[in-house]
C-alpha cells in the first residue's frame, strides 16, 4: 500500500489530498489525536516501532517519508 493511501485512511481524507507538503495541523483532520492514530497505522503496516522523538518530528508527509526510510522502510 502506498504511503499516501495510509495517510488517507488514517486521517480520513481523500488520497488526492495527500502530498509531501501536507503538514501536521495544516488541515483540521490532522490534529494531536489523529496523529496518534496515524502513528499506530504506520507502525502496524510497516511492522516498526518509532522513537518518540520521531513521532514528534513527523510534521509532514515528506518528513514521515524521511523518518520511515531511516527506520528501514522501503518506499
Amino acid at each position: 500500500m502506498q504511503l499516501e493511501q495510509l495517510f488517507s485512511d488514517a486521517l480520513g481524507i481523500p488520497v488526492e489530498q495527500v502530498s509531501d507538503v501536507l503538514s501536521y495541523q495544516g488541515i483540521p483532520q490532522w490534529d494531536s489525536v489523529a496523529h496518534m492514530g496515524l502513528i499506530a497505522h504506520l507502525e502496524d503496516h510497516y511492522g516498526i516501532l518509532l522513537d518518540t522523538d520521531d513521532i514528534i518530528d513527523m510534521s509532514s508527509v515528506a518528513k514521515a517519508r524521511e523518518i520511515l526510510k531511516k527506520n528501514g522502510v522501503e518506499l
Partner: protein, 179 residues
C-alpha cells in the same frame, strides 16, 4: 496538602512552582497565545503575580507545577479546586514552547498530571471545562477519557474523568511514549 515537589513520568517532570519561576510564568501567561486560551484573560502585573504566588504557598486546595521536557521548562500544569472530601479536582495545563505545544507532548503532560492527581492526591474524579467550539481541545480531552456530562448556557462544556476510562484511554496513547 501534598508535599510533592517533583513528579516525573512519560519524559515529563512536574516541579512545584518556585519564586524564581514566577516572572517567566507571568510573561508566558500574558502572551496572547496563552492568554487567549484562558477563561480569565486578565493581564497579570508583577504585583498580582507575587500576591497570587504568596497565597499559593499557604493553599491546600491548589498546586502549580512548572513542566520540564528535555531539560527545559516548557509550560505550566495545575491542580485546582482540590476537594479531598469529595475526591475531586480540576487539572489545567498550557505549553508555551511552540515546538511542544502539539503532537504527543501535551498527552505526556496531561498523563503525568492525571497520574499525580489520581495516585498521589488520591482523588477519583477530575473535572474539565471546555468551550464547545474548541473542537481540538474537546477531541484531546475525549482521547484522554473525559466524558461530557453538561453544557452550560454560555457554551462551556463540563467534562469528568474517572480512573477506569482514563486508564483505558491512556493505554492507547502512552504506548507511543518511549522515553
Amino acid at each position: 496538602m501534598t508535599n510533592l515537589k517533583e513528579f516525573a513520568r512519560y519524559g515529563v517532570k512536574l516541579v512545584a512552582l518556585a519564586q524564581d519561576d514566577i516572572e517567566m510564568v507571568r510573561q508566558w501567561r500574558n502572551d496572547p497565545k496563552i492568554a487567549n486560551l484562558m477563561l480569565d484573560k486578565t493581564y497579570i502585573t508583577s504585583e498580582m503575580q507575587q500576591c497570587w504566588f504568596d497565597r499559593l504557598q499557604h493553599a491546600t486546595d491548589q498546586f502549580y507545577y512548572l513542566v520540564w521536557f528535555k531539560n527545559q521548562p516548557i509550560g505550566v500544569a495545575s491542580l485546582i479546586k482540590v476537594n479531598r472530601d469529595a475526591g475531586c479536582c480540576e487539572p489545567g495545563m498550557y505549553i508555551y514552547v511552540d515546538e511542544y505545544r502539539n503532537n504527543i507532548v501535551p498527552f505526556c503532560v496531561a498523563f503525568a498530571l492525571n497520574d499525580l492527581a489520581f495516585e498521589e492526591l488520591g482523588v477519583s474524579q477530575l473535572f474539565g471545562k471546555i468551550f464547545a467550539n474548541n473542537q481540538p481541545s474537546v477531541r484531546f480531552h475525549e482521547a484522554c477519557g473525559y466524558r461530557h456530562y453538561e453544557t452550560q448556557e454560555d457554551g462551556l462544556g463540563l467534562y469528568v474523568l474517572e480512573p477506569e476510562p482514563y486508564l483505558a484511554a491512556r493505554a492507547h496513547i502512552a504506548r507511543f511514549i518511549r522515553y
